[in-house]
């Protein structure tokens, strides 16, 4: 992945995250990325970005979140960088599998869903920032 990434930054609110997701989708569509990979990238941003918004700040607003996207044969890589409180999603435990509706717990499925749609997920704490990188498979062509 030697090319410079498609990069953008947005403030930590839901509308801006939605806008950022749209821009990333438009860019990747223009790059010819297939529907399955487009969907996976969108899910990554919705889940991981959503988590940062929900848990990362105590009401502080206007904090920048950075997205970088690289494309290469067979792969799309997405990196999300924020200055919220330290949070490592790779340490998040898998929710217990419920055998019935009555046992099912509501919530806790986000990160496990990302894991299933992505090839890899790596977290790094960089000084005062969280950085998470996710790789998603894309089909050739």
């Amino acid at each position: 992945m030697s090319d410079a990434p498609f990069a953008l930054a947005f403030p930590n609110d839901a509308a801006s995250l939605a806008g950022a997701r749209r821009k990333v989708q438009e860019h990747l569509e223009a790059c010819g990325v297939d529907e399955t990979a487009l969907h996976a990238v969108d899910l990554v941003l919705e889940e991981l970005g959503g988590n940062v918004l929900r848990y990362g700040y105590d009401g502080a607003s206007g904090r920048p979140i950075h997205v970088e996207v690289w494309t290469a044969p067979g792969i799309v890589r997405v990196a999300l960088t924020d200055d919220a409180r330290p949070f490592d999603p790779t340490r998040h435990p898998e929710p217990a599998r419920a055998s019935s509706l009555r046992e099912a717990r509501i919530g806790g499925h986000g990160i496990s869903l990302v894991r299933k749609f992505a090839r890899s997920m790596r977290y790094r704490r960089d000084g005062e920032k969280n950085r998470i990188e996710v790789e998603v498979a894309r089909s050739a062509g």
Binding site: Y55, D58, G59, R85, F87, P93, R102
Partner: protein
């Protein structure tokens, strides 16, 4: 600057400045019952748990009897899990050993969420004032409930326990003329202050009969009129379920209709379930321009009608298992003693015993109406 903080904990002499003298550490309730509470955190350990003897008692079946402890060391607040079943979470991350709970961080225990805040005496006074306001509102709501009727051809009793001081349920009955009794129980979606306000508005429309051109002896008409007046789109996405009945003791007929509401139960004099009364309409406000049907039940002397809302049975037991309507019906049959006064309260206490708490997370509302056993057969 510090003192002994309990057996087994090391005393820390903090070299950082302590909180400005007028601010003190508190846990404020962000989500859960007792929403108005602000609890001080001091060097003395505060144990949060379901056990009523705990200093910070949480009537939540997802909370262990002794779930976690919170304490102050110097100027820092720490939280330690006490081997709870469902875990203790700080800012979404599960914790076990003593973990710092920074100012403005969130502590999640069962279905309750708290925030660590530094509060001034004025802030605390505001919290307490809010608690007082809620209590006044609660008394106002309770004053509108009709007195139980201990004698006469139709006897009544009820149990009304909103979760978190104010709730979205309401119940009532009033004479319609000709010996008939209108009886009703409604449940606004959600619970808390907003639901309670909406509930009051709707309840008054029924109790004071202020819906225009409405025959309050006609349950289907009452529901249709309520549905016209209270559509979701025009009322901040709120909707409600209702059971509305008109009982004529002379003919022993009960005309009724319901919308989005659990079935009302009729227990015979022998204590067994004789019938379940329900109409499968969507809740009021969910869909415009509906025709609501109604049914008529013939009651026998000594029959008891129990009307209730979902909060009575949508509960979890001490093993974390979710209970449902069938479980509640069994509890009702087992508890209803045949002597009406006190039955609703007894059922409530039984449900509390099942959940292992003394306060439920949703409003508990139960109305019992009994047709005199000596009524003409």
């Amino acid at each position: 600057m510090s003192g002994a903080s309990g057996v087994g904990k090391t005393v820390q002499f903090s070299t950082r400045r302590s909180a400005p003298p007028q601010l003190a550490h508190y846990l404020t309730v962000v989500q859960g019952v007792t929403i108005e509470r602000a609890v001080p955190v001091t060097a003395e350990t505060l144990i949060l748990g379901r056990d009523p003897s705990r200093a910070f008692h949480l009537p939540d079946s997802d909370v262990s009897r002794s779930h976690c402890e919170v304490f102050l060391v110097g100027d820092d607040v720490y939280v330690r899990d006490l081997g709870s079943t469902n875990g203790t979470f700080v800012d979404g991350v599960r914790v076990a050993q003593a973990t710092p709970l920074r100012v403005s961080s969130r502590l999640e225990v069962g279905r309750h969420t708290f925030r660590h805040e530094l509060l001034s005496p004025e802030d605390v006074a505001r919290h307490q004032q809010f608690a007082k306001d809620l209590e006044l509102a609660r008394r106002h709501v309770e004053a509108l409930l009709p007195a139980p009727r201990a004698s006469g051809p139709v006897r009544t009793d009820w149990c009304f326990v909103p979760s978190s001081v104010l709730g979205g349920d309401a119940l009532g009955y009033h004479d319609l003329g000709g010996g008939r009794l209108a009886l009703y129980l409604l449940d606004v979606c959600g619970h808390g202050v907003a639901s309670a306000m909406y509930s009051s508005v709707v309840f008054n429309a029924v109790r004071c009969q202020t819906l225009p051109d409405t025959d309050f002896g006609d349950p289907a008409a009452v529901l249709a009129r309520l549905n016209d007046a209270f559509q979701m789109d025009a009322h901040n996405d709120m909707y409600f379920s209702i059971f509305y009945g008109v009982l004529d003791p002379a003919s022993r007929s009960l005309r009724y209709s319901s919308a989005g509401h659990p079935p009302a139960i009729v227990l015979g004099a022998d204590g067994r379930i004789r019938s379940r009364l329900v109409r499968k309409n969507p809740p009021i406000g969910a869909m415009p321009r509906r025709v609501f049907g109604q049914d008529e039940a013939r009651l026998e002397p000594g029959d008891r009608l129990f009307v209730f809302s979902d909060g009575a049975f949508e509960i979890r037991d001490t093993e974390g298992r979710e209970r449902g309507l069938e479980d509640f019906e069994r509890e009702l049959v087992a508890t209803a003693s045949g002597k009406l006064p006190g039955d609703p309260r007894r059922v409530y206490e039984r449900v509390c015993a099942v959940t292992g708490t003394d306060l439920l997370l949703d409003d508990f509302t139960l109305l019992a109406v009994e047709l005199d056993a000596s009524a003409s057969a």
